[in-house]
């Protein structure tokens, strides 16, 4: 089998994996800081796409890219203050159950608001062609998304490593109780983290919309892969999300290339293996969730 095909699948796997990275980032900071398994992350991803559809009519793609994630982040913060905060300190399973119910209800809200059918959404005009990469033609838009997410990862890294707020967030992921004792306003921190996490989910949704279209069930397809990524990479770990996301993208692409029948099965197999053999994943901390 040709090298160029293998390379193109690897490249495509990495590019697809980038979206998983974005989703996983949001999930992992929420899980790491507050111990909440946010099942509603997928439906918030969908909300990002749907708000983008609304906003793009007036403000174009870039207006949507700027504003839709912010709207989703704000919704996230409202959900956190109103509902999620009530399960802090309880058995983490309550958070899981709560967000599971939220996901169910919110997905229906999408159907009520925008109908059950798919909505069309296009990339900005200048990105809708393809680029000759020698080993294949690749959509300009996907390349742009790849580049954009790389920049975003760098920005997030800078935020977490070099800014005070970022360091507080990291400390919170490590030990939120201690951070509170040290005088940080944990209420605000938690709200902010949830807002940031959901902002990233909404952003991923906007970016995904031109690629696969907008559908009420689009969240369902990404929620499980996102969990698999953070388990693979390690809950609460920045580089874990990056590595895990890329790895999952590559695994799926290579499966589709060589053994298509097990492409989806393989994701869950990986998940089960990691959970059984090394639950903290590649870069996670031991004993975080037992």
């Amino acid at each position: 089998m040709e090298l160029s095909l293998l390379l193109s699948q690897l490249f495509n796997g990495i590019a697809t994996g980038m979206l998983y990275v974005l989703m996983a980032m949001g999930l992992t900071i929420i899980m790491g800081t507050m111990g909440v398994v946010n099942f509603s992350h997928g439906v918030l991803f969908a909300f990002g796409a749907y708000f983008a559809y609304l906003i793009a009519e007036k403000a174009g793609f870039f207006g949507a890219l700027l504003m839709a994630p912010v709207v989703v982040g704000m919704i996230g913060m409202v959900l956190e203050r109103g509902l999620v905060a009530r399960v802090y300190g309880k058995d983490p399973l309550y958070g899981l159950l709560l967000t599971f119910g939220l996901a169910m209800a919110l997905e229906e809200v999408i159907r009520i608001g925008w109908g059950t059918a798919g909505l069309p959404f296009s990339a900005p005009g200048f990105l809708s062609s393809f680029i000759d990469l020698k080993i294949m033609f690749y959509p300009a838009y996907r390349l742009a998304v790849l580049g954009f997410i790389l920049l975003l990862i760098a920005a997030l890294w800078f935020f977490l490593e070099r800014t005070t707020t970022g360091k507080i967030v990291r400390a919170g992921i490590q030990d939120s109780v201690m951070v509170g004792i040290l005088g940080v306003n944990t209420k605000a921190l938690f709200t902010g983290v949830f807002g940031l996490g959901t902002f990233l989910a909404g952003l991923a949704g906007v970016l995904a919309a031109p690629m696969a279209g907008i559908m009420p069930t689009m969240g369902d397809n990404v929620i499980m892969p996102s969990f698999i990524v953070i388990i693979l990479g390690g809950i609460g770990s920045f580089w874990g999300s990056v590595t895990g996301g890329l790895m999952l993208g590559i695994i799926v692409s290579l499966c589709i290339q060589f053994v298509p029948a097990v492409a989806e099965l393989s994701m869950y197999l990986v998940m089960a293996l990691v959970l059984l053999v090394r639950p903290r994943g590649l870069f996670g901390e031991e004993g975080l969730f037992e």
Partner: protein
């Protein structure tokens, strides 16, 4: 806790019992409410015909489901204006299959057991169709499998006496489309197939025509229903350098695949085609990305009086042009009611007999008819070319018919179909 005595315990027990009874009563009452509010009760049964409509209103095929139901309702209006079928007015009860066979069976049972329908019209996905067909045979309810194209609805041991198929089979579509594509664009084909009965039989039908023309299969892939990202598959396709890629996909799946086919620059390297495409998908694909050659049971450009009338009626009622899904919904319901009318009885057995062998104006150039040994509606079948870019003048006029085959030329022959329908 077990042996406590005293008023405190009894009150709690009383409340508990009330709670359980309340929930139970709620369930019972609710069941009753649904029966009462879903339609007139048994008192009126003699005076009206209850017809169940089962279509997807959510899930990947939701757009098509809406269209089918819309078409069916036009047929209902037509009959009710004339006083109904066999003198009884028609009431319809719609349920959502969610493009899911399990849900469809539950809803089908609800329509049959609770509402008491003796006829079910609809369904889009063939896996739903096969499940509903088995249910209806068991319950002795007529099932108009309006929009299911998989061969096995009328072929082999999954076909049933109580099921009729108003649309074309995959084999009919393939035979109308595949030879045209093979002759014009080349004989090295790659197949991307939706992994369920409709996808499989669509692919197989196309493969048969390809083989008969001396063509070659250069590769194939199965994709799960609901796949949104075809990028990895398209990379494989491109690497195999086929002349044509045949995509047996539908609904949102087809939309995603064709958009990505364009985005990956493959449109200038090969042709694309498949068993089905239609207006509701082409609208979402967008006129810039619309391309390929597709099997179509009907199109608004079919130049007959019946088609023009139907198109005008549909536009008047719904404000947009009909896709062939609407056409199928219309024909399926219209034929059911016509069968009841001609049988002069609501008895499903008599209606089945009235339908078998019956020929009628199916809004096409040649007459359509119901074949008695497999319940396939034999009708003209088309191959349509998707129009794109500047040639699209009307946003709803997205296809051009390039070939037509008569039903008898393309449907399964008796020798090809070993089906044996049950006795009545």
């Amino acid at each position: 806790m077990k042996d406590e005595k005293g008023t405190k315990v009894s009150r709690r027990n009383f409340l508990k019992l009330s709670g359980i009874s309340a929930a139970g009563a709620a369930g019972v009452l609710g069941g009753g409410l649904s029966g009462v509010l879903s339609g007139p009760r048994e008192v009126f049964a003699k005076e009206e015909l209850k017809v169940g409509i089962l279509d997807p209103y959510s899930g990947p095929y939701a757009d098509s489901g809406r269209e089918q139901t819309n078409g069916a309702l036009i047929a209902v209006d037509e009959f009710n204006r004339k006083g109904g079928a066999a003198g009884r007015l028609v009431t319809t009860f719609q349920e959502d299959t969610a493009t899911n066979p399990g849900t469809a069976v539950q809803k089908g049972k609800k329509l049959i057991d609770e509402v008491g329908v003796k006829y079910i019209v609809g369904t889009v996905a063939s896996n739903v169709g096969l499940a509903v067909s088995a249910l209806c045979q068991e319950k002795k309810v007529i099932y108009m499998s309006v929009g299911c194209h998989s061969d096995d609805i009328t072929v082999g041991d999954k076909a049933h006496r109580y099921t009729f198929r108003p649309t074309c089979s995959n084999t009919m579509l393939a035979r109308a489309t595949a030879s045209y594509i093979a002759e014009k664009f080349g004989k090295k084909w790659y197949f991307i197939t939706s992994d369920y009965s409709w996808g499989h039989t669509g692919r197989d039908a196309f493969k048969k025509v390809l083989a008969a023309k001396g063509g070659k299969v250069v590769g194939e892939d199965l994709t799960p229903l609901g796949t949104t990202d075809y990028s990895s598959y398209l990379l494989k396709v491109r690497n195999a350098r086929p002349d044509v890629v045949i995509v047996s996909l539908y609904g949102n799946d087809l939309v995603s695949c064709i958009k990505q086919f364009n985005q990956f620059g493959m449109r200038k390297e090969m042709q694309i085609g498949g068993p089905l495409n239609g207006l509701e998908m082409a609208r979402v694909i967008g006129k810039d990305n619309n391309c390929g050659y597709w099997g179509m049971p009907w199109d608004i450009t079919v130049n007959t009086k019946g088609s023009k009338t139907f198109t005008a009626n549909y536009k008047a009622k719904y404000g947009k042009l009909p896709s062939w899904r609407a056409f199928l919904g219309y024909v399926g319901m219209q034929q059911l009611l016509s069968g009841i009318d001609r049988a002069k009885s609501p008895d499903p057995k008599k209606v089945i007999v009235a339908l078998e062998g019956h020929s009628f104006d199916g809004l096409k150039a040649n007459k359509s008819y119901w074949r008695d040994w497999d319940h396939q509606c034999i009708q003209d079948t088309y191959c349509g070319r998707a129009k794109s870019g500047a040639e699209v003048k009307d946003p709803d006029d997205l296809f051009e018919i390039v070939a037509m085959k008569k039903g008898d030329e393309v449907a399964h022959t008796r020798a090809e179909n070993p089906v044996k329908l049950e006795a009545l």
